[in-house]
């Protein structure tokens, strides 16, 4: 059975020293030929199995990185298919770029757990592991879904939804007219549709061009700073940023209405949601409303809870601990430079396990905080999803597939094809965009036809 070829980043998405992009499927060798040039000008199709080759990875003419390529031909590989691994320098950006080049060359971004699934289906993994594989797929998908949902709340989600709405409306119009030609006429609709498609394509291209800035999906640990007014949230943020661990972006309003900053600590990316920036003086619960606060906190992978140790805990602190219950939290005992009223034990009593003393004013305790985050991350207590990177590539792939389909529609319009040909490719574009927000076509079209157009005898 011919299988399509899949690809994914196989190493954790941190800025480690080596990153691996794995490719598996019938076209693996074909694809590696396109993205890799061996120093010794060998063809990867001809080299023996289980050999390593030094050279450079390319996206078209653009050199991306120097790397070592391992070729493992089926059936003696993990998946029993032809497998190729690209070992590159471990920068997240480089890995992403190479994966994208591989996808461009014909691979499909792998679904969560797909390599393992293939290995199993091809008889490579024994029976006892099957349950584990199913659980893996299940949990990874849950996670991917969750990150997809996170996406949905942003501008991207809204845009995709509105573009899809436009597309489905046009398809429904065409289909209504085909279904009931005596009621609706679509003569001349091609011109109107062309305008609309050009407009949509412009928007989609914008996404693609800006995707590299991490705006399609922000990777990293979603971190929220909470604390009652004057606990020192802003100072903490400034301290974190002031240390300058490579500020990646500040993207006010692009993904959500709160301001976000990205910092990197030992190669781990933290996306800090600057709730402090929104309300310097006001009460969190009052100003933002419990619902909004809950929403932000729910989305968070890590919470930095700033406690002013110079004043007693109040009902506001109680409220906050209720809100963050069950989340991975580091309690930061701030103002360690002043006489403490609140002791570490008080926080332990409230159920906080990770406690770090800091003085934002005197910029003390930062290293301890970093160590804590590091430990939590490597223990797996705090995770962010590797899949997010893949999801990101998958999203880009979906947008670019949608663009291809829309191009085919334009082609059909140019060639003077009848309108029913338009809807085939329009629906493909609709479906592709649906992958981004986790929705499929199913009954959408039929529902749109009936709700928007008056049909029937």
């Amino acid at each position: 059975m011919k299988t399509d070829t899949i690809a994914a980043i196989a190493t954790p998405m941190t800025n480690s020293s080596i990153g691996i992009i794995r490719i598996s499927g019938d076209d693996s060798l074909e694809i590696i030929e396109k993205v890799f040039k061996a120093k010794k000008k060998k063809s990867m199709k001809e080299v023996p199995s289980y050999t390593a080759h030094y050279g450079y990875a390319y996206d078209g003419d653009k050199m991306l990185d120097e790397c070592i390529v391992l070729v493992m031909k089926g059936p003696h590989s993990y998946t029993t298919e032809d497998v190729v691994e690209i070992n590159c320098h471990g920068g997240t950006m480089v890995m992403k770029k190479i994966l994208e080049a591989v996808v461009k060359a014909g691979a499909r971004p792998a679904e969560p757990g797909e390599f393992t699934k293939r290995a199993f289906l091809n008889g490579r993994i024994d029976l006892s592991e099957a349950e584990a594989v199913m659980d893996l797929i299940h949990s990874k998908n849950e996670f991917a879904l969750k990150s997809s949902l996170k996406q949905l709340q942003g501008v991207l989600g809204d845009k995709i939804v509105s573009i899809r709405k436009k597309i489905i409306h046009s398809v429904a119009f065409i289909e209504s007219a085909l279904d009931d030609p005596e009621h609706y006429s679509i003569d001349g609709f091609a011109d109107e549709l062309k305008e609309q498609i050009l407009e949509i394509m412009k928007e989609l291209k914008y996404f693609l061009d800006h995707a590299d800035n991490g705006r399609i999906l922000k990777e990293g640990i979603q971190t929220v700073i909470v604390g009652k007014p004057n606990a020192g949230k802003s100072s903490l943020l400034n301290m974190l940023l002031g240390e300058d661990r490579a500020i990646v972006t500040d993207i006010a309003g692009t993904t959500r209405d709160a301001l976000e900053e990205s910092i990197q600590i030992n190669g781990i990316t933290l996306n800090i949601i600057d709730t402090a920036g929104i309300r310097e003086t006001d009460d969190l619960v009052e100003r933002m409303g419990v619902d909004r606060a809950k929403k932000l906190l729910k989305r968070a992978d890590l919470i930095l809870y700033v406690v002013d140790t110079s004043v007693p805990l109040t009902s506001e602190d109680t409220q906050i601990s209720v809100l963050i219950h069950g989340k991975q939290t580091i309690a930061l005992m701030n103002k360690s430079d002043l006489e403490p009223v609140v002791k570490a034990q008080d926080l332990k009593d409230k159920g906080f396990e990770n406690i770090v003393e800091i003085s934002a004013k005197e910029k003390k305790g930062l290293d301890a905080l970093y160590d804590k985050i590091n430990t939590m991350f490597f223990r797996g207590e705090v995770t962010f999803n590797d899949e997010i990177y893949i999801t990101n590539v998958r999203h880009k792939n979906a947008v670019s597939n949608a663009l291809d389909s829309l191009n085919l529609v334009l082609n059909s319009i140019e060639k003077g094809m009848p309108e029913d040909f338009f809807s085939i490719d329009l629906l493909d574009a609709y479906e592709q965009l649906g992958f981004i927000i986790g929705e499929s076509v199913s009954e959408d079209l039929v529902n749109e036809i009936f709700s928007e157009f008056c049909m029937g005898k």
Partner: protein
């Protein structure tokens, strides 16, 4: 008291469009078949619109014909007017529609039914199904008579506990005042079948002699007619066609409806059933689309020898006096007399997810069902299911595997797959947009797609089969020949191109390139293709389409390849979804309920995600290892 007792192979309950196809298929396959109808006068009755075909429905009829069914032949005998819809669009959406002479349609079908070997037609109401050990054993009628059978096919249409309603008037009857079937539902429920209630409606019939046609636009049929049946040629069925007429509702119509909307039984709650969105009543249209200044009204003949005319576009369940007022507000109908009132009809039917793709009940072996009883709507949808239920009931008895058409083979496949896989909450109607691979499922190639299957099933004779093989060969050879035909930029060529509104050639070109130009086609280029053999029109048409749309067709074929992979992965009937770890609860429930036959079918169930499908694949593989 002694009751009558008889034994047949197959009992068909109902002689509508589904019942007739089912009964004919079984009898033609050599099985002793009895078909029950509540009235001998209602065989193949068309109680609503007086036409057969239309967008996508026309495809179904052609497919029924290609498989050896009767509907296409019957409408060819009894049509009043014929039209190919969407002729200016792509070939995939060309759809045949014919106005039918209702009475003649019914009479001709009755004649066929009465004169088919192994088939008995019987007036009588079936009140009970007889089941032993989850196996059907026969039926019982109102008189107490028992008919033993190895298979029973339920095609009760809109008759089960039917009620006809307009205004505050309710008649406990089936369509057209015919007797309803009031007992069978209870027996079905007692045997564990879950029932639901659907609704549909029909407009008034008015007297032709009271219509002012001068105020309407005449709607003619096509000059050149395409027969529904592949066994007919145009010259066999040519006739003088009878026109339809087009008029429009007015602001006054809408006013009348708005003022009386509270008198609709839909508002009073008298109607419980769910109606179809694609076939809204005129009051629905006014409420849902208040901005539309007018709606089309088609006045269509019900037959050649009756003055009844169908008011297409104005079905209603408003009270009699409101019906009069609203029809009178339509230009040309000012003095119209109503012969039959418009009404809504409610009936019992099933959620078809209780069926296998063969249309056999999952829970009762040998019990099949088809048509409106399965929650579909339309004569054509009914006939298509009836034919398949008939074929598969016969095959079950003959211990052969069922014939299941998939979504890439036929609209019939799409129809049945949708019905048995997706829960529908309104009567299901076929639409071309439901077919993913519609470019391949054209009405013009239904024979090429299905006649071999019909032959294998035993409903297509050898002569027709040979004819098909010959057609296939001719198409193939001609396409091959054209690969090598090049056209020079000579004078004759340029002038032909000019006369066809096409741009001149700069240098030579292959004829296939020319055929692909939108303004050109295979037929038109005959004068510059001197070697061309004389070929039948239907062969020329296929050659033309295959070349013209080659790129698109190829693309759909590769999609079909992907699709087939998933269809081929069968799920064992005895799978217990509780054993499959890691399935989400919703997916587990849906899968347990619908029990899909293949991974492909499973993936189309709403609420089953791609991750669930992966999990299922792995589970199946695991089972496979264990066995």
């Amino acid at each position: 008291m002694r009751n009558l007792e008889e034994t047949y192979d197959v009992v068909v309950v109902g002689a509508g469009h589904a019942g007739c196809e089912a009964a004919l298929a079984c009898a033609r396959l050599g099985l002793e078949t009895i078909c029950f109808t509540v009235s001998m006068d209602s065989i193949a009755l068309m109680p609503c619109n007086p036409n057969i075909g239309g967008s996508s429905k026309g495809h179904l009829v052609r497919e029924v014909d290609a498989l050896g069914g009767e509907m296409g032949k019957n409408i060819d005998k009894t049509y009043l007017q014929s039209k190919m819809l969407n002729r200016s669009k792509g070939p995939a959406v060309h759809s045949l529609r014919a106005q039918a002479d209702k009475k003649m349609y019914s009479m001709e079908m009755t004649k066929v039914m009465e004169n088919t070997d192994h088939l008995t037609v019987r007036q009588g109401e079936v009140t009970d199904i007889l089941v032993e050990d989850k196996k059907i054993t026969g039926v019982k009628t109102y008189s107490g008579a028992v008919y033993h059978a190895r298979a029973v096919i339920l095609t009760t249409g809109t008759y089960l506990k039917a009620r006809c309603i307009y205004g505050d008037v309710t008649n406990e009857t089936g369509p057209n005042g015919l007797q309803a079937a009031n007992y069978l539902t209870e027996s079905l429920k007692a045997n564990g079948i879950s029932m639901r209630r659907f609704k549909t409606g029909t407009p008034a019939r008015i007297d032709r002699n009271t219509i002012d046609f001068d105020k309407m636009e005449e709607q003619f049929g096509d000059q050149k007619i395409v027969p529904f049946s592949f066994t007919n040629k145009e010259e066999d069925i040519r006739r003088d066609q009878i026109s339809c007429w087009l008029t429009y509702t007015t602001e006054e119509t809408h006013q009348i409806i708005r003022e009386n909307i509270d008198r609709s039984p839909l508002f009073s709650g008298a109607i419980e059933g769910t109606g179809p969105r694609y076939c809204p009543s005129i009051e629905d249209k006014i409420v849902k689309f208040p901005d539309k200044p007018r709606h089309q009204v088609f006045i269509e003949p019900e037959g050649e020898y009756t003055s009844e005319m169908y008011v297409g576009g104005m079905s209603s369940s408003l009270p009699e006096d409101v019906q009069y007022a609203m029809y009178h507000s339509v230009p040309g109908l000012e003095n119209a007399k109503i012969i039959r009132n418009a009404y809504a009809i409610e009936y019992d039917c099933i959620d078809a997810t209780q069926l296998k793709p063969s249309l056999e009940f999952k829970a009762i072996q040998g019990l099949f069902s088809a048509g409106q009883f399965n929650g579909s709507s339309g004569y054509e949808e009914a006939a298509a299911q009836g034919l398949m239920a008939g074929i598969n009931a016969a095959r079950m008895i003959q211990e052969k595997d069922p014939i299941i058409l998939d979504r890439s083979q036929a609209y019939i496949g799409v129809l049945i797959d949708d019905l048995v896989t997706k829960e529908t909450f309104e009567p299901y109607r076929m639409m071309t947009s439901r077919a993913e691979y519609r470019l391949l499922l054209r009405q013009d190639n239904a024979d090429l797609r299905l006649t071999k299957i019909g032959h294998e099933a035993g409903l297509i004779d050898d002569e027709r089969y040979e004819h098909l093989l010959k057609k296939e060969k001719q198409i193939e050879e001609e396409e091959k020949r054209l690969d090598h035909v090049n056209i020079g930029a000579g004078k004759e060529v340029q002038s032909l191109l000019e006369s066809l509104g096409s741009t001149a050639l700069k240098s030579g070109a292959s004829i296939k390139e020319l055929i692909r130009r939108p303004e050109l086609n295979y037929m038109a280029l005959a004068p510059i293709d001197p070697e061309r053999p004389a070929l039948p029109e239907d062969v020329q048409e296929q050659v033309n389409i295959n070349i013209k749309y080659e790129g698109y067709i190829r693309r759909q074929m590769s999609q079909v390849k992907q699709f087939k992979k998933m269809e081929k992965k069968r799920i064992p009937e005895d799978i217990d979804y509780e054993d499959v770890g890691s399935l989400r609860i919703e997916a587990r429930q849906k899968l347990s309920k619908i029990r899909p036959a293949s991974i492909g079918q499973a993936s189309r169930i709403s609420g089953v995600s791609p991750a669930d499908i992966s999990v299922l694949l792995i589970y199946l593989e695991q089972m496979h290892h264990r066995r």
